[in-house]
């Protein structure tokens, strides 16, 4: 199995405050991997380092090519797309314009139109809302748009930060099914999620972060069965 993403000895600090200490993780092509942990465990810092949004030390390789130190727009061009925590849509742009921003690096030629149709097939509600401002969508619709905006760039790696945050339980259920479908079409996913139980249901493998360090890792089934993980993260 080929390795899509490989992170070694990752260190991130904000001023003198360390946020991530010697974290190592991998995403093999075709898998969903999850990073779990409490607030402030360093989950978001880890993925922001991979995206090039915060300064970090260590090595980050995409298909064997080192990408650490590259500016975020370059890393994106290499095939990494992001679904940020809290959606972070461009609220003054319409749904369609947000998709255009998603395809910024690819350009909006004829290929773009067919990608938009694919996105509308995946999220039919977005088709009806295409001329609305993104800021006027409901939480669930915003999450769909945030995912569509990332997918339309045809990434090789999709990085999702807390996709379930602030969504109703029913919506979360449907969202995770859709993430699984997207993965089944061949896209590799690295996901940060506080909802550990849900994440472990769809992830193949997961990492547990505790105050910036890797506390445990393993296949989801094994973590789910582990008593420590049960006690700390799954609430019983």
């Amino acid at each position: 199995m080929s390795l899509l993403l490989r992170v070694r000895d990752l260190e991130v600090s904000y001023g003198a405050v360390p946020a991530v200490k010697r974290v190592a993780l991998e995403v093999p092509a075709g898998e969903i991997r999850a990073i779990l942990g409490a607030n402030g465990a360093g989950k978001s810092s880890t993925i922001k380092a991979i995206l090039g949004l915060v300064k970090a030390r260590g090595t980050i390789e995409l298909e064997g090519r080192p990408i650490h130190g590259a500016p975020p727009h370059r890393i994106h061009q290499l095939g990494v797309a992001w679904v940020p925590e809290g959606r972070q849509l461009f609220s003054t742009l319409t749904v369609h314009e947000n998709l255009k921003m998603g395809a910024f690096a690819r350009g909006d030629g004829p290929r773009f139109a067919s990608r938009v149709d694919e996105m509308f097939a995946l999220f039919p509600l977005l088709r009806e809302r295409r001329s609305q401002l993104a800021g006027s969508l409901s939480g669930g619709e915003q999450q769909m748009l945030a995912i569509a905006r990332a997918l339309i760039s045809e990434p090789r790696l999709l990085i999702m930060d807390e996709p379930s945050l602030g969504l109703a339980p029913k919506v979360v259920q449907r969202l995770f099914e859709q993430i699984r479908e997207i993965n089944a079409r061949g896209l590799s996913i690295l996901m940060v999620e506080q909802n550990a139980r849900q994440a472990l249901k769809i992830a193949h493998y997961a990492y547990l972060l505790e105050v910036g360090r890797l506390a445990a890792e393993g296949p989801s089934a094994a973590l789910m069965a582990s008593e420590d993980v049960q006690r700390v993260y799954l609430g019983g």
């Binding site: 727009h73 972070q88 742009l93 314009e97 998603g102």
Partner: protein, 267 residues
């Protein structure tokens, strides 16, 4: 009636320079959250660019306009590299102070090079009042990217937008506009001087504050309005009261609407 029309026309002429300079302040702030205090010096650079072009290159109005705008844009890009890019994204006072410093340095550089007395700009052609093309921040690819950076710089970068390029683009456009305003004021008053940016810059800044920086159209309207108001005060009351009116309006508006008449982006 003739005096009235004459004054309105004068006012629109001066007002269009306020509008254009204010637009530059507002554009740079809304896209990058930087109060660019060196912006008035782009205006000054435009006037000296016009002077240099007339002396050494051509007296054709469009050539002079292009020369002034080019000089302003070059100064703009240097300021972007030296005083804006290194501190962009930091607390708003830091770029404010950095650009203030560069602005003062530019004034004194101009004084050193051209002397402290105004240099005469020969009257080349009757002043042409130009219309500013609708700034295409709406439906072009980079226009959209600029709006995306304005709202969420981090997300825009993660979707392939080179934020440094947007920074150069924004400062470049704002400097081109300020340069054009500098050329027209230089030609109108047939002179350029090192500290000409101070009063024009301050008044344009006032226009942006009064309008709020959220809507381009609002900023432009207030610029034109201030020009007309000043011209009418000069014509019918007294030209010594002109500046007091501008700043008086600012005080009144800010007391009642601190975010400006049409709303502002916050830091």
């Amino acid at each position: 009636m003739e005096l009235f029309l004459q004054q309105v026309l004068n006012g629109l002429m001066i007002g269009s320079t306020y509008a254009v300079v204010a637009l530059g302040f507002s554009l740079v702030f809304s896209v990058m959250r930087v109060v660019n205090m060196a912006h008035p010096e782009f205006f000054m650079a435009g006037a000296f660019g016009a002077y240099l072009t007339i002396r050494h290159v051509t007296t054709n109005f469009f050539g002079v306009l292009a020369g002034g705008m080019l000089v302003a844009a070059v100064i703009g890009l240097v300021v972007e590299r030296l005083a804006i890019r290194p501190v962009r994204g930091r607390y708003v006072m830091i770029p404010f102070i950095a650009t203030s410093g560069v602005g003062i340095a530019l004034q004194h550089l101009a004084e050193r090079v051209f002397g402290s007395d105004p240099v005469a700009i020969p009257p080349v052609v009757p002043t042409v009042s130009y219309t500013l093309g609708q700034l295409s921040v709406r439906n072009t690819k980079w226009g959209r990217a600029t709006r995306a950076v304005a709202e969420r710089p981090e997300v825009a970068a993660a979707f392939g937008v080179d934020v440094n390029f947007v920074s150069r683009l924004t400062i470049g456009i704002s400097a081109l506009m300020a340069g054009a305003a500098g050329v027209s004021i230089g030609i109108l008053y047939t002179s350029a001087w090192a500290f000409m940016g101070l009063l024009y810059g301050l008044k344009s800044f006032v226009c942006m504050l009064v309008a709020g920086n959220r809507h381009i159209e609002g900023v432009m309207a207030i610029g034109l309005l201030l020009g007309v108001l000043e011209a009418l005060v000069s014509g019918y009351v007294s030209s010594t009261l002109r500046d007091a009116v501008a700043f008086g309006v600012l005080v009144v508006v800010l007391v009642f609407k601190p975010g400006g008449l049409f709303g502002s982006y916050s830091v």
